[in-house]
Amino acid sequence: MFARVAQEDFSQQALYDELCAHDQRSRAGAIVTFTGRVRDYNHAGAIDGIELEYYPGMTEQALAQLIDKAVKRFSLTNAGIVHRVGRLANHEQIVWVGTCAAHRQDAFLAASFLMDMLKQSVPIWKKEWVGEQAHWVAAKGSDDDAAMRWLTEDKDS
């Protein structure tokens, strides 16, 4: 399992290899990866990249706890997450999530879960640049709803 905050870009192949090399039983039948990239627009028009602020110490810890939770909840054989911070240009990679499981449904659900919960519980804040101006992005209700889906299931069980 790994959970990292990084300034520098990451390699798809290196992360995939790291995920599979530490797969608990080397027998995962299913591997899902999610990659988030900077979109070149927002609801109002074109943007010129973003900037991500984080809380050193707490952010790493929150990512690690999230991975731990996903591994237990979905019986994963491994999982990893890397989130970049700092200034990122349009189309750059922001976040990578990888999950290994015996069966595909668990791997898909766990990767969705990680992204939904990340967007609600990990201390990272996004600014969007337009020319020389930067504006903080407001939290989205749809992200709360996505996370609520998992939290509600928790209560039911």
Partner: protein, 80 residues
Amino acid sequence: MKVKFFAQIRELTGCDAMELAVPDNATVDGVREQLMQQGEVWREALSANVLSARNQTLCNGSTAVCEDDEIAFFPPVTGG
């Protein structure tokens, strides 16, 4: 105690961290109230939808705090 601020709150107040002396039996809401006394800009920054963490774990306003704690205030997160 150490208090940290992030994102909009950090920018509005122009402060990323400070040392603060708090009374016995203080809570996170008490700390926030105390900070808001510092002026209009503090009131504005901390009266919106603000999350808090005690020792790097999310907590709510009624959480008790003590001198050795690290308390943080920040807006809803927007990573990913």
